[in-house]
């Protein structure tokens, strides 16, 4: 699929927001990702979707971190550039068909670092369902903080934690979550140690949730078996069967 870059701007010293326009009808759920062909690199870059407008002439916004050579090159792509992008990859968060998710009235959304962006599209859709989500965003330090005001504009109560305490609660998202009002379900995305801490938080509260994982991948659509993981119900591909796993299937 060819998409055209509309904007590509820095949000921090190494996090960027790129909006592309084109056919985005394949994107159906928050938490899905796209695979961007960055000119000059062999493999595509898997990037989570921040928000999207699904239409033949739709748009999709990505928030990504320049982590290596590929994403660094991606940050220099100028508006008007046409990119080859595979869209609508992965299962995304299921807010319609999972009983506990449907029943939940006050979900807690916890994001760490570049795990934050997919929670935006999710938060927007949960609010549209009439739910009252609380959002907890975790960063290393104030200068790395992104998207906090975006969630506030949606009307979600938004808490922040930083490891060095330079903004919000000092510590991790699970520390800031102690300040949240009662919550009955969890959606999360971030580095694995954070997901594990959120998993324990769910156990302590006796609630379920959906966890979005990260893995190095090649194809992004389930063919190469590069990103397989073990679950309680057999092996799954993070790219195709995930990236979102429900708490009950995770082996921790």
């Amino acid at each position: 699929m060819r998409l055209t870059v509309l904007e590509n701007v820095p949000l921090t010293f190494n996090v960027y927001r790129m909006t592309l326009v084109g056919d985005t009808r394949a994107i159906t759920r928050a938490g899905q990702f796209v695979q961007v062909q960055v000119p000059g690199f062999y493999l595509r870059r898997p990037i989570s979707v921040y928000d999207w407008m699904p239409a033949e002439k739709g748009s999709v916004t990505l928030v990504y971190k320049a982590l290596g050579h590929g994403t660094e090159a991606m940050s220099h792509i100028t508006p008007g550039t046409s990119l080859d992008v595979l869209t609508g990859l992965g299962n995304g968060y299921d807010i319609d068909d999972i009983a506990e998710a449907k029943a939940a009235k006050a979900p807690l959304l916890l994001g760490g670092g570049v795990g934050v962006p997919p929670l935006y599209g999710l938060c927007k859709r949960l609010i549209a369902q009439g739910k009252t989500p609380t959002v907890v965003l975790g960063f290393n330090t104030a200068s790395e903080m992104i998207l906090q005001s975006d969630f506030e504009v949606l009307g979600a109560r938004t808490l922040v934690s930083t490891v060095d305490g330079s903004v919000g609660t000092k510590g991790f998202v699970t520390d800031a979550a102690m300040l949240a009002d009662a919550f009955d379900y969890v959606y999360t995305c971030g580095p694995e140690p954070m997901l594990k801490a959120v998993y324990r938080l769910c156990d302590a509260r006796g609630i379920s949730g959906q966890f979005s994982f990260e893995e190095r991948m090649a194809c992004g659509f389930g063919a190469c078996m590069g990103c397989s993981c073990q679950t309680k119900y057999g092996s799954k591909r993070i790219c195709k069967d995930g990236p979102v796993l429900v708490k009950e299937e995770i082996v921790w």
Binding site: L43, A218, C219, G222, C224, G226, S228
Partner: protein, 304 residues
Amino acid sequence: MVDTCVTLSGITLDNPVIPASGTFGFGQEFKDYYDINILGTFSFKGTTRETRFGNQTPRIAECTAGMLNAVGLQNPGVEHVIQHELPELAKFFHKPVMANVNGFSIEEYVEVAEKLDREPQIGWLEVNISCPNVHGGGMAFGTQPENAAAVTRAVKAVAKKPVYIKLSPNVTDIVAIAKACEDAGADGLSLINTLLGMRISLKTRKPILANTMGGFSGPAIFPIALRMVYQVARAVKVPVIGMGGIASAEDVIEMMLAGATAVQVGAQNLVNPYACKEIIEGLPRAMETYGIQSLTEIIGGAWK
């Protein structure tokens, strides 16, 4: 009107383009992108006797014009393939498929081959003696002519379908191994499997792959693959399926000029799910550009 047909051991393919094992699963992931019946055929995911999860992750590392993989033969096992994958495949793919047979002992190769050989959907057995990512099997059989011949002989003794042996490039003399397989009764040869490689992360100062090493594939290896196909195809009488870094219709023609009767496309499927479709659609124009009426005529055209 150009003729793209080629024949592999008595079965005629509409075109020589075959997605390589391990890059195409059992076809499921690609059928949503295009009608895979346009393919010559495809070689399905390497199958062993038992279910295998494979190696720990990370299993993938990027390289210049290519990638490393160390998946480690993850597959659901031969029984599951026969019970579930083949019936599913029959719903949307209506050509003979190539079965990729793996093992950790000669007995396992024989058992997997014997079971798959009975399946009417399967046109050829491709015996992989060249997987670089597993220990004690795979490539261990493909690096010595005697071992390669022993696997070939044992599989040929039980198989009614044509048997193609998939060769490793990680050897000192691929021609000697190719000839040993031919002498042992192989109906054809597939080459090359991936080249053993590795990458190290500067951040962690450790290998990127959990398996330390992995198989290198992608356009970067095309000249090596082409050279080996040229050497082997000239030395044997059986058909050779050429693979390694093929990414365009022009690459297909070049590989056939080197002596390949058909080609496999691997890594490119993972970068572009439409890769084989685009290559097949590009073939007639590329043939016209280079004055080729029939692909069969150009096989080994570079030898003289």
